[in-house]
């Protein structure tokens, strides 16, 4: 049994699990890209699927483990994707700024990468106000998880996931807008 499998079995160990998953996802993404011709895109879920296969022994691939794993992987994906979006956004602007200046970004015409950054900023605020709702956003948006998977991972009903997700989207957008007008 490998380390990740052990971690999956020990609840409350998510920091280490996250670190493990994060490393593995980056490794996989790089290996994957080395093989594939340019222009092909890599779906977030495909990446997580691969990490799942790589990290977890066959016998431990139960549905519960999987949901837990995908939950942890979503957080790792968030870091990877936000980093990537920031990097690209920075490159485009040629500026050396750490954060995207929100004032520069028009939501209506925001580039895809800027959307990720904007959503992430608003998500940070949501994390303070309503951590559970924020977790659902991370899983669905960054982890590409279905309502069913999120429900299984958090031990709540699919109906709740759906409801929270609908509310979170509207709220995040509202905050993005507010921030835009404040800046």
């Amino acid at each position: 049994m490998n380390d990740i499998t052990l971690m999956l079995r020990l609840p409350g160990n998510s920091t280490e699990l996250l670190a493990g998953v994060y490393g593995e996802l980056r490794r996989l993404a790089a290996a994957r890209m080395a093989q594939e011709s340019a222009g092909q895109t890599l779906q977030a879920t495909a990446l997580v699927h691969e990490a799942w296969l790589q990290l977890v022994a066959e016998g431990d691939r139960t549905w519960e483990n999987r949901a837990h794993f995908f939950g942890a992987a979503s957080h790792a994906m968030r870091r990877i994707l936000v980093d990537a979006a920031r990097r690209k956004s920075r490159l485009k602007r040629g500026a050396d700024c750490e954060r995207v200046e929100l004032a520069e970004v028009e939501i209506a015409t925001a580039a895809p990468d800027d959307s990720v950054i904007l959503i992430n900023e608003a998500l940070e605020r949501l994390e303070r106000d309503d951590p559970e709702q924020a977790r659902i956003v991370v899983m669905k948006f960054f982890g590409g998880m279905t309502n069913e998977e999120v429900a299984a991972s958090l031990g709540i009903s699919e109906r709740t996931v759906y409801r929270q997700w609908v509310c979170a989207k509207a709220r995040l957008y509202r905050w993005v807008r507010q921030q835009e007008s404040n800046d």
């Binding site: 980056r26 790089a30 290996a31 594939e36 890599l42 990537a84 948006f141 509310c167 509207a170 709220r171």
Partner: protein, 737 residues
């Protein structure tokens, strides 16, 4: 979480589901009466939620494109370990998602099918070195027979084909389970539980045999078990595959040089191990079942798998042909104390007790299954199952040796009537098998020099009528799917109604079709047709271990009551109760409970419902406070109401007593129950006022026609549920419109 945010969220979500602008305005007027800031927030969210979707979509595009960025900064990573090259590839209509494991004859993947239905399947790619064309031809020859298998404990084989590199592949129904031996050990199943599972497997194999299919490779890794609603469901996988990939090498002269043993020697019958392997029949499967039983009892196979894999082919054959296996109890007795204790613990018992349980009848059953001479085995898988069943019922088994058999006969004579009945059942069960076995042998004679297709052709001829019916009903379902896609609900309902042979095989298509057409019929208030749809759906659910059973029960319950068929409704209740009486899944049980309380239950039903009521109460008591005023409240208060505990109902429903109805039916339903309880407690005025409010909310809901699949105002059956209770409350309080 700030309460303000929670309130905003709830109002936004509720208002979102009031699609009519005027209605929505009214709703917000009511809800945000004295809080303009709240109203502004909610309206802002409502006005921009579509823009929010666009923002999220754009973000998702970025995520899909993120690979390039990741490459940019991934830096020095180890590229030596390549992930499985198959992941993400397409094979035929299927996209490989992940590897599920490596078997002896190939790799198994989780794959996604998109056409004609979206579903996950298991894809088995056979190792190189097989004659692909012949494998596929052999599979196609069995295809129709395989398609006729229809059993809850058999995983379906859906398709076969060749990959680009020329490897044959099979597409199988996806089974999420673990091998039976592992399942029993990790769950510490005792002998009785193991034997119950084993009987189900025998029945599955018997079903296949009656359709003329022999499995040929029964072993733990082909029998997977998954828990469903707290019930273990075994599934036999890989039917038809052993047959397809075995067979004679292309060039007969190379026969003896090229031959290899396909399958797993430890589970293989002596005749299967013999050169040529032509002479295999259903009793070979009985032998393998015997080995499986052996392993379930003792944790070991009679001939050690490792040992067999080390010795040569000839030696393996000799052992299988000549060496008598130890009796299970003898094997257990020969283990050292520690090993025996471990085996006993996995079976939740003590060593001495395990030995005495296995010794005797179970020994005999295993020995009879493992006879070298197949004429001395059980004739059928069913015969084996019946003997195991007899053991469980403490009845004399048939496998006993002659001395015992004599006593047994005497016993049978004492109960002559029973025996005749038993024989008739046996004849009825084996009749189908005898016919297909006869055909099998008839065909086999022709097969010596001719194509195997011939065999299937003959069998097909014999089964033509039955097969045509089966095929017709599947076609009809496909037709209905197309009609539904075109939005032609009337046509879909008509086609369904005209079907003479209902396929009971659970399928994504079948369940989807019944749910959609059923819902449409409900919206047309065509109750009788709707109740047919939902009863059929429930029938299908019985065989489907993964269906949304309790939701369908809810739908069916209200439709039967609306159809005013009290007898049928009562029957439905009894069956639903029986199926869930020992379930520990609280959220499922409450749905069954409330569906059975739609009409006042008679004393018999009330007694039957008692265990469900207990489970529900325990479940409800564990809910976090805020969830106690949600959907769980309905079954609980209705249960107390039906039992006459009115004070309790009033106490339970108090938090919602003054609430106004949201987009879904929760508040009106609770208030309807509350009104009836109030009336019984003598608070007649309050009761009447409440009923009037409920009626108002329900009328407002039904004033706007619902569309099929529209969940924005809650589930249709929740609203019908509310309306049925409202009628009862109105009758009771005299508050009729």
């Amino acid at each position: 979480m700030p309460a303000a945010k929670q309130l905003e969220d709830s109002l936004f979500f509720a208002a979102l589901h009031v699609t009519d602008p005027e209605q929505r305005r009214l709703f917000l007027d009511q809800a945000c009466l004295d809080d303009p800031a709240l109203r502004e927030s909610v309206e802002q969210m409502l006005a921009t939620h579509e823009d929010a979707d666009r923002l999220i979509d754009r973000g998702r595009d970025a995520i899909a494109l993120a690979a390039a960025e990741i490459r940019d900064f991934a830096g020095a990573v180890d590229l030596r370990e390549q992930p499985d090259q198959q992941i993400g590839k397409r094979i035929g209509r299927y996209t490989i998602l992940e590897s599920l494991g490596e078997g002896g004859c190939g790799s198994v993947y989780l794959a996604e099918q998109r056409e004609p239905v979206i579903r996950l399947v298991a894809l088995k790619v056979i190792k190189l070195g097989m004659d692909t064309r012949r494998v596929i031809a052999r599979f196609n020859a069995e295809r129709q027979a395989l398609a006729m298998m229809d059993h809850p404990n058999i995983a379906r084989v859906l398709d076969a084909g060749a990959t680009e590199t020329g490897r044959p592949y099979f597409v199988l129904e996806l089974v999420r389970g673990i091998r039976i031996t592992e399942f029993c050990d990790t769950n510490r199943y005792d002998l009785r539980q193991r034997l119950e599972l084993f009987i189900q497997i025998c029945h599955a194999i018997q079903h296949a045999h009656q359709k003329g299919i022999i499995h040929r490779d029964i072993k733990p890794s082909n029998v997977l078990v998954a828990m469903h609603d707290g019930v273990p469901v075994p599934k036999v996988i890989d039917f038809g595959i052993a047959k397809a990939i075995e067979g004679r090498p292309a060039d007969e002269t190379l026969h003896t040089l090229n031959e290899q043993l396909l399958g797993t020697p430890a589970y293989m019958s002596p005749e299967q191990a013999q050169p040529g392997r032509l002479d295999v029949d259903t009793r070979s499967d009985v032998y393998s079942l015997g080995i499986l039983l052996y392993e379930l009892l003792t944790g070991r196979t009679p001939f050690d798998a490792l040992e067999l894999s080390k010795i040569g082919l000839d030696e393996t054959r000799r052992i299988l042909r000549e060496r008598e296996p130890q009796r299970p109890s003898a094997l257990l007795a020969g283990l050292n104390a520690e090993a025996l204790k471990a085996v006993a613990e996995e079976r939740r018992t003590e060593p001495a007790r395990l030995l005495s349980q296995v010794k005797g009848d179970l020994d005999w059953i295993v020995v009879k299954s493992l006879q070298k001479e197949r004429a001395r085995r059980y004739d059928t898988a069913n015969g084996l199952a019946m003997d195991v069943r007899r053991f469980l019922h403490n009845e004399p088994i048939l496998a006993r040796p002659p001395g015992r058999l004599y006593l047994l006969r005497k016993l049978i004579r004492r109960q002559a009537g029973l025996f005749v009945a038993g024989t008739l059942v046996l004849l009825a069960l084996t009749g189908g098998l005898a016919a297909s076995t006869r055909l099998y042998f008839k065909a086999k004679r022709a097969e010596i020099r001719q194509s195997e297709l011939r065999e299937v052709a003959e069998r097909s001829l014999a089964n033509e009528g039955r097969m045509r019916k089966e095929a017709e009903s599947r076609e009809k379902i496909a037709e209905v799917v197309i009609l539904l896609r075109q939005g032609d609900y009337e046509g879909a309902a008509k086609t369904l109604g005209s079907m003479e042979n209902r396929p009971r095989q659970p399928s994504l298509d079948g369940s989807m079709v019944l749910r959609s057409v059923g819902e449409w019929l409900v919206l047309q208030e065509r109750w009788q047709e709707a109740s047919k749809c939902f009863l059929w759906l429930l029938e299908m659910n019985q065989l489907d271990s993964w269906g949304q059973v309790t939701l369908d029960i809810q739908a069916c319950g209200v439709v039967l009551v609306e159809n005013r068929d009290a007898a049928l409704y009562r029957q439905f209740c009894k069956e639903a109760i029986a199926a869930h009486t020992s379930s520990t899944n609280g959220s499922g049980v409450i749905r069954v409970l409330k569906s059975c309380l739609l009409l006042p239950p008679d004393p018999e039903l009330t007694a039957l419902l008692e265990p469900l009521g207990k489970t529900s109460e325990a479940w409800y008591a564990k809910l976090p406070a805020h969830q106690r005023t949600e959907w769980g409240l309905i079954p609980l208060s209705l249960w107390h109401y039906r039992k006459g505990d009115y004070a309790r109902v009033i106490e339970l429903a108090r938090p919602l007593a003054g609430s106004s109805a949201g987009p879904d039916a929760l508040v009106p339903t609770v208030q309807a129950i509350l009104a009836m309880a109030l009336w019984h407690q003598g608070e007649t005025d309050k009761a009447r006022v409440t009923v009037a409010r409920v009626r108002d909310a329900i009328d407002r809901h039904f004033a706007i026609p619902m569309r099929v699949g529209d969940r924005s105002r809650g589930f249709w059956y929740d609203w019908l549920f509310a309306r049925i209770l409202m009628r009862e409350a109105a009758l009771l309080t005299g508050e009729e419109s």
